[in-house]
């Protein structure tokens, strides 16, 4: 038997090798039919857009989407045979659906920018609305007092709902006590409480009884009711993802249940817990009804959480958006824009905070 030896390329040749990605090479037929499948429906729709006055959403959904589906299917049939057709359907639909949600979000933000951008200015963020009437031009006044209010109320709500929510999740996943089904049911039921009911509840038992004024604290209580189920349920899901190996490992080192939860399980789930908090905040930050009832309104900047009624961004929007003064309406839209930016900042912050994973 003779051995076949492979004659290696010379070293020089090897050094001159260029890296390639052979799997990216596509047959010409493929490129041609795919580009046609992309271009033809787009051209038809562009033509219709120019010549007719069919509203854009209808144009996209009723004409473009079916056209694109057919075109892609034909392209798939040519390049990959019948097997490719189903694939192409799924891909087109998936891209279409994701584009749809991006477009919805973009148009929400777009409309906020169009109507509210002119209200934005440094003083809009920092000044309050004392001496400002709906007809005051945009050169004066702002929502500083509402921003402070919203932050204060959300902070109070978090202070109350995060410990309780996380503790509830710990009870469900770590303590696994006998009441777990009831607790879970209760939390689930709580997530169905309409926000206006939470506001009414606090109004009745906290404000009407004279225990506290309409205030950041009362508003925070109402928000806490709404935040709690979100925090608890998200935290529960996150704690469930922590592998049991870690719990057993800690217990095998002579740890108590409590230390296991505090030092191993919760830290392992830290990123997820932060997400739970953020989702809770995002759930409530735009809620208007509970604050109209429990926090009230104020043109001044209030920092005392207990003393007096306090403004917030959603109630500010509510109070201004329907006024018959263009500048007041612009202020409302501007506030909405600020609110959205605030949420975006919160999410980014959560990402960044969640990234540092390891501690001593």
């Amino acid at each position: 038997m003779s051995t076949v030896t492979f004659d290696p390329a010379s070293l020089e040749q090897l050094q001159q090798q260029k890296s390639t990605r052979p799997w990216r090479k596509k047959p010409t037929k493929f490129t041609a039919s795919v580009s046609l499948a992309v271009v033809i429906p787009a051209l038809i729709v562009a033509a219709l857009f120019v010549t007719s006055d069919i509203p854009v959403p209808i144009l996209m959904v009723v004409i473009y989407l079916p056209l694109q589906l057919i075109a892609s299917a034909v392209a798939a049939l040519i390049t990959r045979g019948t097997r490719g057709v189903a694939d192409s359907m799924i891909i087109v639909n998936a891209i279409g659906a994701s584009l749809f949600s991006v477009i919805v979000l973009a148009s929400v933000i777009g409309s906020l920018i169009v109507r509210g951008l002119r209200a934005l200015s440094p003083h809009f963020l920092f000044q309050n609305s004392v001496y400002i009437s709906p007809s005051t031009p945009l050169d004066y006044g702002g929502i500083g007092h509402s921003l402070v209010g919203t932050l204060l109320i959300v902070f109070i709500a978090s202070l109350i709902s995060v410990p309780i929510g996380v503790a509830t999740a710990v009870y469900i996943t770590e303590v696994r006590g006998r009441a777990v089904p009831y607790v879970r049911f209760f939390v689930q039921a709580m997530s169905g409480v309409p926000s206006v009911v939470a506001g009414l509840f606090i109004l009745t038992i906290v404000v009407a009884t004279g225990a506290f004024n309409q205030s950041a604290f009362a508003g925070g209580l109402a928000y806490a009711i709404l935040m709690l189920p979100t925090v608890a349920r998200t935290a529960e899901e996150v704690l469930k993802l922590v592998p049991d190996d870690l719990r057993t490992g800690a217990l095998a080192l002579g740890s108590t249940r409590a230390r296991t939860v505090l030092r191993v399980v919760l830290p392992a789930a830290r990123t997820g817990i932060v997400t739970a908090i953020i989702l809770g905040v995002a759930r409530v930050i735009g809620e208007t009804a509970p604050l109209l009832l429990a926090a009230g309104n104020n043109d001044q900047t209030v920092v005392n959480p207990f003393g007096s009624p306090i403004s917030s961004v959603p109630t500010y929007i509510f109070n201004n958006v329907a006024l018959p003064y263009p500048d007041a309406v612009a202020r409302a839209w501007g506030s909405a824009l600020v609110l959205i930016i605030l949420v975006a900042i919160l999410f980014t912050l959560a990402r960044v905070l969640g990234r540092g994973r390891v501690s001593r």
């Binding site: 095998a252 080192l253 030092r263 191993v264 390891v358 001593r360």
Partner: protein, 281 residues
Amino acid sequence: MSTTEYEGVMELDIEGIEQSALHQVGPTEMETRDLSVWFGHRKVLEGVNISFPKQTVTALIGPSGCGKSTFIRTLNRLHELIPGAALAGAVLYEGQDIYDGDVDPVHIRLKIGMVFQKPNPFPSMTIRGNVLSGLKLSGMKRDNHDDIVEQTLTAAGLWNEVKDRLGNAAGDLSGGQQQRLVIARALAVQPHVLLMDEPCSALDPASTLKIEETIRELSKEVTIIIVTHNMQQAVRVSDYTAFFLAEEGSPGHVVEQGATTEIFGNPQEQRTLDYVNGRFG
């Protein structure tokens, strides 16, 4: 098949056997009495009587599913964490039944450490933090943390590989390194007994040898109980061996136990002979 095919397996490490035979039999550290174990209504172990002399290494061998892990987890009261778990009989540690009503499982687990089959370092801690985690978790006070970290990591054969990156995340280590890390972690709380459930099944031959050296070294101070599927390993590291078996449909039990030299060199039971020679399981 002829028996000669198994002669290769029969060539055991005679030197190792002779060494272990020289080991002095000391007083008993741990012992089980008529231990039977259930998961719900299913009995998985029956009537296990084994005693573990102080500062020796005992290997638990037997086919998959015969209850070795279950057994070892009853020795440090981890078994009871599983819903539906139950047992009968007694587990004595220093003469006391660890399942007595007034015994604190936390205290038991601190004295009887464990290394699991799958490495389970704490992902939220650094390498150093992991080594010291037992101290924090159990509230144990020990000085000179730097020394503890170096000693235990050296004992686990990991020091040289990680000494420059003790502050890195434990999750960045390879599987085998993680396993040695959790061995160091178990050693840092100075257990009297160390339970090891197939500690080398995720390791390469070199790390396995390191761990085996560590086991031999540790056995001067610690009583070690190790589950292994590797017959050579059992011979290399253990003084005593217990052979578990769960026959068709019946709970697992100990078929034969005794000095490792006897179990591997001169077993009394045909089933033991068959198993250690790789004829089933």
